[in-house]
């Protein structure tokens, strides 16, 4: 009974740990079905992709904790990738300009999202979806549908190179970004106010927190984090395309929810989102290894989300 209770408690309350277990389980299944997929290269690429997704999920985590949803993550990432290759054109020494331009772009779009969702008071999911359509169209207008340029060779190396063939060089970016996100969410005054706002907005306001400012800030930070993720994504891919990272909007959202955040707000952790990203990447890696086509993949992703919502996000019945 004691161990049974402990397991039940683990499943219910330790969502990040549960996500790790699921990831391990999925990896095991993939390897069992296709033993050839067990090589050092696969692990390396799983690590890099998990990092990329976890960068995008950093902002998403904040938005979800504050009680919103940001679906413009993907289009901001694609836009950032297009800008990155457009500015770099394969030449080194332009990293500062790239970061400046993309972060400004991400912050501007985030601010637009935030103002529309918080000040104007439209449902965040609708407004961020509408904004993401506009941003996607802007990519096509700016590039004529065909983005030019490639990422600089040195920059590509800092993302793609594998130390000992396993640990990706992108880890050095990850250390900085993870530390920053962890500090913002769990150690700063902003983070504390964020949790309070998400938990009970009117109580937070009565305690003197400027809840509107906090919620707009989450959207701005989400835009900035997605922009940085887009830059690194361009480095990982080496080139860019319109709508290259669009699926990151949905994937980051699912990753955050798998990692234990709740849509009602006030619950969640960044470590959970990182483990959630790992689950998503292992799942998609498994689907690739098993040679599963794109439509079935869409189906699986949609079902995963509906199942997650059913498990953790059901409203109270009317009949009580």
């Amino acid at each position: 009974m004691g161990s049974g209770l402990r397991i039940r408690r683990f499943v219910k309350y330790n969502r990040p740990g549960m996500a790790l277990v699921i990831a391990l389980f999925l990896l095991l299944i993939t390897v069992l079905i296709n033993p050839k997929s067990l090589n050092i290269n696969t692990f390396g690429s799983i690590l890099v992709q998990t990092m990329l997704l976890s960068f995008a999920a950093a902002g998403q985590t904040m938005v979800v904790i504050s009680g919103g949803v940001d679906l413009s993550v993907g289009s901001v990432m694609s836009m950032a990738a297009v800008i990155t290759t457009g500015i770099m054109q394969g030449q080194g020494g332009r990293f500062a300009q790239v970061i400046l331009a993309t972060v400004a772009m991400g912050a501007a779009i985030g601010l637009l999202n935030g103002v529309c969702a918080v000040r104007v008071g439209l449902p965040p999911i609708v407004i961020t979806l509408a904004v993401s359509y506009v941003v996607t169209r802007l990519q096509y207008v700016f590039t004529g549908g065909m983005p030019t340029g490639v990422a600089a060779a040195l920059f590509k190396k800092t993302v793609q190179y594998r130390i000992f063939g396993l640990i990706p060089a992108a880890t050095m970016y990850a250390v900085v970004i993870w530390a920053l996100a962890f500090f913002l969410i769990h150690r700063s005054r902003f983070g504390k106010q964020l949790y309070l706002t998400g938990n009970n907005e009117s109580a937070a306001r009565l305690n003197g927190i400027n809840t509107r400012k906090i919620r707009v800030l989450t959207f701005v930070l989400s835009g900035v984090f997605s922009a940085v993720a887009g830059v690194l994504g361009a480095g990982y891919m080496g080139m860019s395309q319109c709508q290259l990272f669009d699926n990151y909007a949905y994937n980051s959202l699912v990753a955050v929810i798998v990692g234990g955040s709740l849509f009602v707000g006030g619950v969640g952790s960044y470590f959970g989102s990182i483990t959630g990203s790992l689950v998503m990447i292992v799942l998609s890696n498994g689907l690739t290894v098993l040679d599963i086509s794109q439509p079935v993949r869409n189906l699986v992703l949609g079902l995963v989300m509906v199942i997650l919502l059913t498990l953790y996000n059901r409203a109270k019945p009317i009949r009580q």
């Binding site: 449902p123 609708v126 359509y133 439509p295 989300m305 059913t310 009317i318």
Partner: protein, 350 residues
């Protein structure tokens, strides 16, 4: 006499449809000026406008039925593609007679709508996120059935759909009239009242003996029929199949309904959705003619389709923003309804 007119006007101003009507009339005037009255008021112009945009208009009607009950469906757009795929593939691959195939497609639309309803109403999941995820599921199913855009429709079908009855009434308008007539009947049954009660407050509705779940499921059933018809209209107007089209109709219909003065639950009529849809359609049309006008007058100006897409998506976004202004122009009742909708919207969105 003047007193009576003023009273009528005052009454009309308090109607939910007032803002939508004003917006619609404003852009209509603008469009007539851009297109010149002589070219606008022709039967063929109305025929093209209606037959091209009937899927969107019907989708908006379906969405407003849902919003009356306080629920919504973002996956409506891709459901049109689902109906379209079935209507094309059944006759083409299995040799089913076209009529039966199209009936199956309509049934498919109803079933998929009921599936959404089951998830939202019976499982009590947050409507926006759930239907957003269901979009992915339906997309996957669509591509599984039909790998790439293909197929064709018999000539008689799209000829009929594009035809003009009695020399002045486009066939597409007949479909719209039929849907509106059926709605007029539904509105007058007790069920019509129940929808408003449930949309306003499901708990209170339950307390007075209405089953909220059944009312909302019925709304999904009605929406399924409307979406099924819209999908068939899409098939007839495109005369081919595409598994990934019309996805953005979901959010477009939502913004149209909000523009038309619809709120989440208990406020607004079907005409709100109608005028909201009309607003989007006319704006799109006006932008098209404006671009044509610009390229003709300014030498060397090239505008590709990317620009048109950008403008039409920006208009959806601005339309969503415009809901604040329209709400301000309305009376206290709508303002309160709007605040409530935002609270509910927040619940759904977050």
């Amino acid at each position: 006499m003047a007193e009576a007119i003023r009273r009528r006007w005052g009454h009309f101003r308090r109607q939910p449809v007032f803002t939508g009507f004003c917006l619609f009339m404003a852009v209509l005037a603008l469009n007539i000026i851009i297109q010149t009255p002589a070219k606008f008021f022709t039967v063929s112009n109305f025929r093209i406008l209606l037959s091209k945009n009937m899927p969107l208009i019907l989708t908006c009607l379906g969405q407003s039925v849902l919003m009356m009950c306080g629920v919504l469906d973002l996956s409506t757009g891709i459901q049109l593609a689902f109906v379209n795929v079935i209507a094309i593939m059944l006759p083409q691959e299995l040799g089913v007679p076209v009529g039966l195939g199209w009936a199956c497609a309509l049934t498919g639309g109803v079933l998929i709508s009921l599936f959404c309803g089951f998830c939202i109403v019976k499982l009590r999941l947050p409507a926006l996120l759930t239907t957003f995820s269901i979009t992915y599921i339906i997309k996957g199913v669509n591509v599984l059935i039909m790998g790439e855009p293909q197929g064709k429709v018999e000539k008689i079908i799209y000829k009929t759909y594009d035809s003009v009855v009695l020399g002045f009434l486009p066939f597409a308008a007949l479909i719209l009239l039929a849907v509106l007539l059926v709605w007029q009947y539904i509105k007058r049954t007790p069920y019509g009242k129940h929808m408003y009660a449930v949309g306003n407050n499901p708990r209170n509705a339950y307390a007075v003996g209405i089953n909220p779940e059944r009312v909302q499921m019925k709304a999904f059933l009605i929406k399924g029929f409307i979406v099924g018809i819209a999908g068939l209209c899409l098939t007839a107007s495109n005369a081919s199949g595409n598994p990934l089209q019309a996805e953005e109709y979901g959010i477009r219909s939502l913004s149209a309904c909000m523009l038309g003065g619809m709120n989440f639950g208990g406020w607004g009529t079907l005409s709100c959705g109608l005028f909201g849809a009309g607003f989007l359609v006319i704006v799109q049309n006006a932008v098209y003619y404006l671009f044509n006008f610009l390229t003709k007058t300014i030498q060397g100006l090239m505008i590709n389709s990317y620009w048109q897409n950008l403008v039409s998506d920006t208009i959806i976004f601005l339309g969503l923003l415009a809901t604040i202004i329209t709400a301000k122009a309305q009376r206290e009742t709508l303002r309160q309804g709007f605040v409530k909708q935002l609270k509910r919207g927040e619940k759904y969105g977050g």
